[in-house]
């Protein structure tokens, strides 16, 4: 089952669902034919798209709104904040081609500050599925949850069997105590493969797939910090305002300190190309992630040795 089929299934079950798009039909191409009375296309028009969804939510509808993540979160940011966030309306914003998924479109289409933008809005929630299966598993809970949600659409093929979805609860693979990888969304697959590479070389690894970024599974993050010697966060987002910021905020709040490696886009746009080429160019492929982690551990070891020799 894919996203579109799941959405149609939910729309048949839930009378209130109405699907909107700003002429971004890639993920819902067959839907208008199947449920024409529950489908609105506003044209290339993100601000009004969001305003209209607020009006529909005021009438008791559950609008599910599709647009390119970059334009949805940035062009209509004020409409989302003021007309969805502030009144806490039941609107689901589906951001397509977020993070690296914009592939060859270039910086105009790169949504790599979307998490930072959406998470600072009061009442807004964020779901970043790891792949198509993860997205489908979370969809029905999120649609039936009467709150605003931003969803980083992700149709990457699935390489693991995800567990059942629960709001604000992360999914954990392994119970290693050396390396704790915390990841969301597009880079899950590469992180999972990196875990396998590291384990084959004898490292003890655990991997946390966050699923929702807001609410965030603080318990599982702290669990990882407390049980692993080194924690790694991996995301296709700017360092500022994303997962690195979120984990840092939690650590400060809990007065904790951890050996920490943040793998992300720093503060730059990424090289536009096919996804695989981007992963390699930006150092996000599984083997590169594994190597970056090992390099970090070597550096950490050297630092420790220097400290000891100074004593």
């Amino acid at each position: 089952m894919n996203y579109e089929e799941k959405l149609i299934e939910l729309a048949h079950k839930n009378e209130s669902i109405i699907i909107l798009t700003a002429e971004n039909r890639a993920s819902i191409r067959n839907l208008p034919k199947v449920i024409p009375n529950k489908f609105i296309d506003t044209g290339i028009n993100e601000q009004s798209l969001v305003g209209i969804s607020a009006g529909l939510a005021l009438r008791g509808r559950t609008p599910i709104v599709h647009a390119l993540a970059a334009f949805l979160t940035m062009r209509s940011f004020e409409f989302i904040r003021t007309d969805i966030g502030y009144p806490n309306l039941n609107v689901k914003l589906i951001g397509n081609f977020a993070g690296l998924l914009s592939e060859g479109n270039g910086p105009t289409h790169q949504a790599i500050e979307d998490i930072a933008l959406m998470r600072c809005i009061p009442n807004m929630n964020i779901f970043c599925p790891a792949d198509m299966d993860d997205m489908i598993k979370g969809l029905s809970t999120i649609i039936n949850y009467n709150r605003p949600f931003y969803i980083r659409y992700n149709d990457l093929p699935t390489i693991v069997n995800h567990e059942e979805f629960a709001l604000g609860k992360a999914e954990v693979f392994g119970d290693g105590n050396e390396i704790g990888i915390i990841v969301y969304g597009t880079l899950f697959n590469e992180s999972f493969k990196a875990k396998e590479i590291l384990e084959a070389e004898g490292y003890s690894v655990r991997l946390v797939n966050l699923r929702t970024i807001k609410p965030i599974d603080e318990y599982e993050i702290l669990n990882t910090v407390n049980n692993c010697k080194t924690i790694i966060s991996i995301e296709d987002h700017y360092q500022i305002g994303g997962l690195y910021s979120i984990i840092s905020e939690i650590l400060v709040k809990e007065k904790l300190i951890s050996d920490y490696l943040a793998i992300n886009l720093q503060n730059k746009f990424f090289k536009p190309a096919k996804l695989n080429n981007i992963l390699n160019y930006e150092g996000f492929s599984a083997i590169q992630i594994a190597n970056r982690i090992k390099e970090h551990l070597v550096k950490k070891e050297k630092k420790l040795n220097v400290q000891w020799s100074n004593v």
């Binding site: 609105i40 044209g43 009004s48 305003g51 209209i52 005021l58 009438r59 609008p63 004020e78």
Partner: protein, 285 residues
Amino acid sequence: MDNKKLIEYKEIAKNVREHIITLSNNGGAFIGSALSCSDLIVYLYTDFLNVSKDKLQSKNRDYFFLSKGHAVPALYGMFIELGWLEVERLNNHLQVNDDIYWHPNTKIPGVEFHSGSLGHSLSIAIGIAIDCKLKETQNKIVVLMGDGELNEGSIWESLLIAHAYKLDNLLIIIDRNQIQANLLTEELIPLNPLNLKFESFGCTVKSIDGHNFIDMNEALKEFPFEINRPSVIIADTTRGKGIRSIENKINKWFVENNDYSVIEYINELNMTNEFEFKMSNLNEL
């Protein structure tokens, strides 16, 4: 419209203007803008909109959105006349123990949706209008906008959608007082010919005197003006209407008042009203 009704509406409008001035005490308000659309709001709530105190949440009610949110004193003034809001609460303006401030919010019963950021309400109204069309209900959806507000691009993209979805349950009223915050609209960002702009966007347009209840009555009884098209009223108005020392004064947009100036303005309002009453009697003779 019979004479009795007319006198009644004028009385309500005078009261609303008094409330506006009272509200502007304790820190001031955008009274020029509120006085400009007072008569329109009075007409809508007394004659046009299907709303009442016990129907504020009914799905069959008509919807009114004050897109130019800074004119909210006019709306609250009308709510007092309708008995939805206690007049004493005007003294709570800008106090933390109440929710009466410079822009409308839904904590005040009767406010459909908050506003303040210009160019938002039309898209929200379109969402409501589309839902009403899909459910084949008879609600009317009214949006009152300022002319300065028409600088916002979101309005024009929303109009494209209102036309595409044939929203003849939608009424857009432009408070055309010719003055935006600090300048004349035609000097800053000219809007004329405004009727042609709306017509070219697929709306049917009527121009009226926005202070004349007979004019409003004539125009609105024909709503929707045309089937499958949004209706637009361009209401010619005067910013600061009713108080001569404020009328059309560029610098009287936001007016900060104190107890003394409030009494002065209310006196002035009464004088203007008496003068107009005498003039209308003269005209009848």
